[in-house]
């Protein structure tokens, strides 16, 4: 939403306070006037003894009531104001994300035919050095993979979810078993609660959740040093909100403090990533999947020590 829209939302959220003030004051004056008039008319027959102490008590009580009421009003309106601003900000962020992914989609679309033409052209090259042709082919493949990855993210944002009750314990166990074949020099350990009861199931798309966890674990392994450890842990948090918290911790190279926000973005790679394979969409993918499941994702890291990525999924 534009800054003007934001401003309007703020103003709208504040006016109830301003509206109630004069009404309440007016009301009190009316009541006081009514009482005075009632006493000053023929109703003097009804004998009312106004003890000064009682009057002060009554007036005091009225004043206190009025102050309490006003305070509650202003607190409620401040809350409403904060909620309105947060809502507007979230809408703006969603629009921004959508626009960015549309751009990436369009880019990918424009690159498709040129890349196809390059691949076909290379397949038809004769009389050239095989090594040179291979290098060209490899680079075209690399470009194709890049555009493929961008397309993947755009599809993830808006594609349909196959929602079922997902047993995350099973998902994590499968991921750890698979990654075991990936790199022998790094230990991957799984730590799941068995008591007092196992992890609750979460409602979600099993395959997407598995892919998200897989991406984080693969990253952890990729950025570990030989002999390092990756620990995959999960626990239930009653909250509210009631959620399952999955943590993937490694003792790897870590991420610099100024890059911690950056690494979540598509194609962004931290300085430590140079020389290691990957196009840099893993964490962007994870963030989209977790967000679509109503969850949150964040990471903490220390350069040279390690990183922990946390995924929270609502139960």
């Amino acid at each position: 939403m534009s800054p003007v829209g934001e401003e309007r939302a703020e103003r709208g959220a504040m006016s109830p306070v301003r509206r109630w003030w004069p009404l309440l004051a007016g009301g009190l004056v009316l009541v006081a006037a009514a009482v005075v008039w009632w006493i000053n008319t023929d109703h003097r027959r009804v004998y009312l003894e106004f003890e000064p102490a009682l009057s002060i008590l009554v007036v005091g009580a009225l004043v206190i009531a009025a102050v309490v009421l006003l305070q509650r009003q202003s607190r409620r309106s401040r809350q409403r104001e904060a909620e309105a601003v947060a809502r507007v900000r979230a809408e703006a962020a969603a629009v921004h994300r959508h626009d960015r992914l549309q751009l990436l989609s369009r880019l990918d679309h424009e690159l498709k035919n040129p890349l196809t033409a390059l691949r076909l052209g290379l397949a038809g090259v004769t009389g050239a050095e095989p090594a040179a042709v291979q290098t060209l082919s490899d680079q075209v493949d690399r470009l194709s993979r890049l555009t493929g990855d961008l397309r993947k993210l755009a599809a993830l944002e808006s594609g349909p979810l196959d929602l079922v009750q997902v047993d995350l314990s099973q998902v994590l166990a499968e991921v750890v078993a698979d990654v075991g074949d990936f790199d022998d020099s790094v230990r991957v350990e799984l730590n799941l609660p068995r008591g007092p009861w196992p992890l609750p199931t979460v409602r979600g798309d099993r395959d997407l959740l598995q892919a998200a966890v897989m991406n984080v674990v693969v990253n952890a392994v990729k950025f570990s040093r030989p002999g390092g450890l990756v620990e995959v842990r999960a626990r239930e948090e009653p909250g509210p909100p009631h959620r399952v918290v999955v943590e993937i911790a490694d003792t790897g190279v870590g991420i610099a403090p100024d890059e911690v926000e950056l690494v979540w973005q598509e194609l962004a790679r931290g300085r430590q990533a140079h020389g290691r394979p990957g196009t840099g969409i893993g964490l962007a993918l994870v963030q989209i999947v977790v967000r679509r499941h109503g969850g949150r994702s964040f990471l903490r890291s220390r350069l040279g020590a390690g990183t922990v990525v946390t995924l929270e999924l609502p139960v």
Partner: protein, 244 residues
């Protein structure tokens, strides 16, 4: 597969971008095909009606009518000509629709030329003269297994199989490509539309789901065979019924 006495199969290529058709036509000719080229959807529709066309290769994005619309119209006119689409590789639902609408197969751009040729040959291998291609059928029968592609329901004998949407999509694809080795990467692409850096485990899970529903034993399979180091293959013969 190139028979010296018989000229190669005639392929109708509908592609409007000269940068693509330029190298693609000679590549197809080197692979043993004869090629007729058109550059928009309406010409494609007219040319596909010619009786000597044995396979159509349509780009989905074309001026006039697009590749998918041409496919739809051909099928609604009762044409059984095999059609392979060169797709945009959007979300899984687009690909599912392409297969549902009667495409025999699809290949995402940018594609590996060798992969394209392999798929075209596989489609031609399955052609039965006079009979609709599997893709043009609304019901597929493999022994006691029956898949109604329009209603999206599968039955084994008279018992209906309960499958997830992706499980059903996988079954559809397996039935459309019997006796063909399907790599995990290809199946991953069919089911999700993209290739995870690691993670073809998701395909294995779906195959396990189908095996369980069909009561198939992976050790001595009747339905789905694991081809070590390569992928999966659907074993029984598939017959297409009730052309659309």
């Amino acid at each position: 597969m190139i028979d010296a006495d018989r000229p190669g199969p005639l392929v109708l290529l509908a592609e409007d971008d000269a940068a693509v058709s330029g190298p693609l036509v000679p590549l197809l000719e080197r692979s043993g095909f004869r090629v007729r080229l058109v550059e928009n959807g309406l010409d494609a529709l007219a040319a596909a009606a010619q009786p000597d066309v044995e396979l159509c290769l349509f780009d989905v994005l074309m001026p006039g009518i697009d590749g998918r619309e041409a496919l739809r119209r051909l099928r609604s006119r009762g044409s059984h000509v095999p059609i392979v689409l060169l797709t945009e590789a959007g979300g899984a639902s687009e690909r599912a629709m392409a297969l549902e609408e009667g495409a025999d197969d699809y290949v995402n751009k940018p594609f590996d030329p060798a992969e394209l040729v392999a798929r075209m040959r596989a489609v031609l291998r399955r052609v039965r003269p006079g009979a609709p291609t599997l893709a043009a059928s609304s019901v597929l029968q493999a022994g006691e297994l029956r898949l109604d592609r329009v209603a999206r329901r599968a039955h084994l004998r008279d018992r209906e199989l309960t499958l997830t949407p992706r499980g059903l999509l996988l079954l559809d694809y397996l039935l459309l490509h019997p006796d063909e080795v399907l790599t995990r990467d290809r199946l991953l692409n069919v089911l999700w539309g993209y290739d995870f850096p690691v993670g073809t485990r998701a395909v294995d899970n779906r195959v396990a789901e189908l095996r369980k529903a069909l009561g198939d034993d992976s050790g001595t399979p009747r339905w789905i065979e694991t081809v070590a180091g390569a992928g999966y293959r659907f074993l029984p013969e598939v017959v297409g019924q009730v052309a659309r």
